[in-house]
C-alpha cells in the first residue's frame, strides 16, 4: 500500500486546472505553492493494482508537465513488522 510524494509542474498557465484535476482523482491529495507554479501531490493507494492504474491516470492528465517523486513508502515491503505497534 504505497504512499508517494511528488513535486508536480503544470503546463504553462494550467496550475489551477491541474490542482483541481489531481484533487478529483481518488487516492490523490494535491496542494499548491503560494508563489510558484508548483504543486505537491501525495498519493495513497490500497494495493499494487490500484497504484498502477493511478500511475496511468496521472500520465494522461493534459495539464501536467512533469512529475518528480520525492518520497516513497510501501508498507507491503514491511508487512507484519508494524502490526504489534499498531494493534
Amino acid at each position: 500500500m504505497p504512499i508517494l510524494g511528488y513535486i508536480t509542474i503544470p503546463q504553462s498557465g494550467a496550475k489551477d486546472r491541474l490542482l483541481a484535476e489531481l484533487n478529483d482523482i481518488e487516492f490523490c491529495e494535491a496542494f499548491p505553492a503560494e508563489n510558484a507554479d508548483i504543486l505537491v501531490l501525495v498519493t495513497d493507494t490500497p494495493d499494487k493494482e490500484t497504484e498502477e492504474q493511478l500511475q496511468q491516470q496521472l500520465k494522461n492528465i493534459p495539464s501536467l508537465e512533469s512529475l518528480s517523486m520525492t518520497f516513497g513508502y510501501n508498507d507491503e515491503l514491511h508487512k507484519g513488522e508494524h502490526d504489534d505497534n499498531e494493534a
Binding site: M1, I3, L4, G5, Y6, I7, E29, F31, P32, A33, E34, N35, A36, I38, V40, L41, V42, D44, S68, M69, T70, F71, G72, Y73, N74, L77, H78, E81, H82, D84, N85, E86
Partner: protein
Amino acid sequence: MTMKLDRRSFIKSAAATSAIATAATLFPGITFAGWDKLQDASGMITWKKAPCRFCGTGCGVLVGVSGDRAVAVKGDPNCSVNKGLCCVKGYHSVQALYGKDRLTTAKVRKNGKMVEVPIKDALDLIASKMKETITKHGKDSVAMYGSGQWTIPDGYVASKLFKGCLGTNNVEANARLCMASAVTGFLTTFGTDEPMGCYEDIEEANVIITWGNNMAEMHPVLFSRMLASRKRKTNVEIIDFATRYTRTSQAADKSIIFKPQTDLAVANAICYEIVRNDWVNWDFVHKHTAFYKGKTNIGYGLEDHFKFTDKAEPISFEDFKTFLKDYTPERVEKISGVSARDIRYMASLYGDPAKKVTSFWCMGMNQHTRGTWINNLVYNIHLLVGKISTPGNSPFSLTGQPSACGTVREVGTLTHKLPHGVVMNEGHRKMAEKIWDLPAGSVDPKPTYHTVEMFRALDRGDIRFMWIQVTNPMVTMPKLKRYRDGALKEDRFIVVSDVYPTPTTDVADVILPAAMWVEQEGMFGNSERRTQHFDQIVPPPGEAMSDTWQLIEVARRLGFEKQFPWSEEEYIGKIWEEYRKFHDSPKHNMAPYKVLKARSGVQWPFVNGKETRWRFNAKHDPACSNGEDFHFYGKKNNKAWIWARPYEPAAESPDQEYNFWLNTGRVVEHWHTGSMTRRVPILHNAVPSSYVELNPDDAADLGVVNGEMVKIISRRGEITMPAQINGRGVPPRGMVFVPFFDEKYLINEVTLDSFCPISKQPDYKKCAVKLEKA
C-alpha cells in the same frame, strides 16, 4: 479513527514534507500554505534528534519512531546547519535500516563457505587470530581500516586498542581517500586542522566560488542555502569553477570549465593578478603571513614503499612575485583552457575590497596528485587579500563523510596521528599513554602505512590480518584488482563489520553484523567543527552490535580489560569524557557529554560554555592571544604560510592511445558505494545503475546513443557500461565521468593508484582511458 489510520496520515505528512523540502531546494524561497495541517497527524510517533547518517554536511534530523521502528525523518528546525531542510537521501535515511538482506548474524568462513555462528564465537576467533598473527609475524602484521562513517567512539577505541594496547600504528580510515589533502593543506598553511569558518559564511558572502565542487549534488542542503541567499539579496554571485558541467554549473551565475589538474595554474594566475593590480591587503600580509617554497617534481607514489618528505624554505614576497611570473593569465589560458578574461574576472572578485568571498571545495581539490598544493594555493589567494576568518570571507574545505572530521581528523585514526598530535612527537605519545593508562613506550613513534600502502602491504604479505569497519574498500580502492587479489591470498585473514553484504564482505573470513546509525549511541563531527550526538533510538536487528562494542569485546579477549572497563549502559559517555581530555585547551576544547546530548550539535573550540564560529579571529576565538585582530597560532611563528607551489601535470594524462580523461564521483541519490542507498527503493529507482557520461560530440564520433554500452579501457583494466549523454552532467570533449556507487560496474578496476606525495590521498579524478562501442 484507528491508530493504523493515524499512522498512514503521519506517513502522508512525511511524504508531503519531503516534497515541499525538495521543492525548496529546486526553487529557493518557495512557500506553501496549509500543508502544515498534515504534520504530526498521528499522536503515536515520537521524534528524536540525530545528525543525518550520510554526508559531511551534518544536517540535523528528527527520526520518527513508532514502537521500536524508525518510520520517518524530518529536518530538525533547531539545527543551524539545515534549519529543518533535508535532501532526498536524508528524507529516506531510515529506510536504509530495513533492507531485506540486512546482516543480522555473524558468519565465519569454513571450508570456503560462510557459515552463521553466534557472534560470541566470531569475536573469540578474531581475538585468537590476532594473537596468532602477532606471535608469528609481529605487531605490525595486524591492521585496522575504518572510516569517516565511524562514530567518534568507534574510532577512539580502535586507536586506543591498536596504537596504544597493541603498539602498532596500522590504523587507517577511508577518509584518507577523501580529505587527507585537506588536512595537509591546513597543516602546511596554518599548522592546525579544520576550517576556520562556519556555514554562516554562506549567508554572509557576496561571492561564492566552488572549486571543482558539485555542491548541488554533493552538499545539496548547503547549496540550497547559497541559492536562498542569492534570491534574498541583490549582491550575491555564484561562480562554478569545474572540469565538467553539472547541476551546480547550471544554477551558478557563471560556469568556468578548466582542464584537469590545471587548477594549480589558475590559482597561481589569480595570485599573479592580485599582485599585479596591487589588490594585496598589505597590512594583513605583513602582520599575519610568511612566504615559503617546498620541493618540486615530487612524484606520484605509483611504486611500493614510495617515500617523500617536503622541506619548507622561507622566501621573500619578492621571490614569490618572481615565482608568479610564470602564471600570467595569457600563459595559463594555454595550459588550462580558461580564458585570460575569466581568470582576471575571478581575480577581480577576490581582489575587490567591497566583496566578501567564500571558496568551497571537496573531492575535486583533495583527490588530486597535488592535493596539498592546490589547498595551499586557494589559501594563498584568501591570505593575499586578507579575506579569511571573518564572516563571509572563508576558504572552506568541505568533507564528504558524516564524521571524517570528528572521527578521523579529530580522533586521529590515521597511521601518523593520535587523538592529540602525532605519534612522532614524544610529548603527544606520553599524553596518550597517560590517558590510556599504558606503560611508557607503548605507542610506537614510527608511522607505518597510509591507506594505499596498507593495501599494498596486505598484497605483499607484510600485513596478514585486517579488520575493516564501516567501509567498502573492495569497491573504492583505486587500481582495485591488485588489492582484491591481495585480500584473497590464502594466508590473509580479513574481518569485515558491516550492515549489508558488499564486495568487501565477499573477501571476508569473518563477517560481523554491525549496528547502523541510530541503532547505537554515538557522535559524528561535521565539516564546520560541529560535534553531533545521537542516542540509540531503535534496537539493532538480530545479533548486530555497535562497532565500538565489537572492538571492546575483542580488546577484552586480548587481555586489555583495564583499558576497556565500561558497561554497555554507559560506555559512550565514559569514552567521550576520556577522549575529551586530549583536547583540553582553548584551541580545541570539546563540549561535555551533557551539553552534546542536549543540543543539535556543538562547535569546537567550546570554551567557557561558548562555541567558536570563526577561528584565528580575536573577536570570536578565545585562543587568540597576540593582541592583534588575527592570530594564526597553529604555526610556531604565529603566521599563516603562503606557499610557492607550481603547476605540475597529472600522473597520467591522455595520449594518442588512451585519449580520454576518466573522472569519477558521486550522484545525489546514492551514498558512496551505494550499499545502503541502493536498498532504499525510491533512491535505487531514481538511479538504478551507474553509467558513463559522454560529451555529445564524443558520443557521436563513437556512434553511441543514450543507453548503449561503452567499453572503457585503461592500462589497469576495462569495464563496459551504459552511456549517458546530456544527462545531469556533461563533460567537455575528451573526458568521461563515471559515478562509483554501483558494485555492478566497478570503475576502480580502471583507475590509477597515484596519490599526493604529501597527503597520500589518491587521485580518482584523473587517469587516461580509451573508449570503444561495445
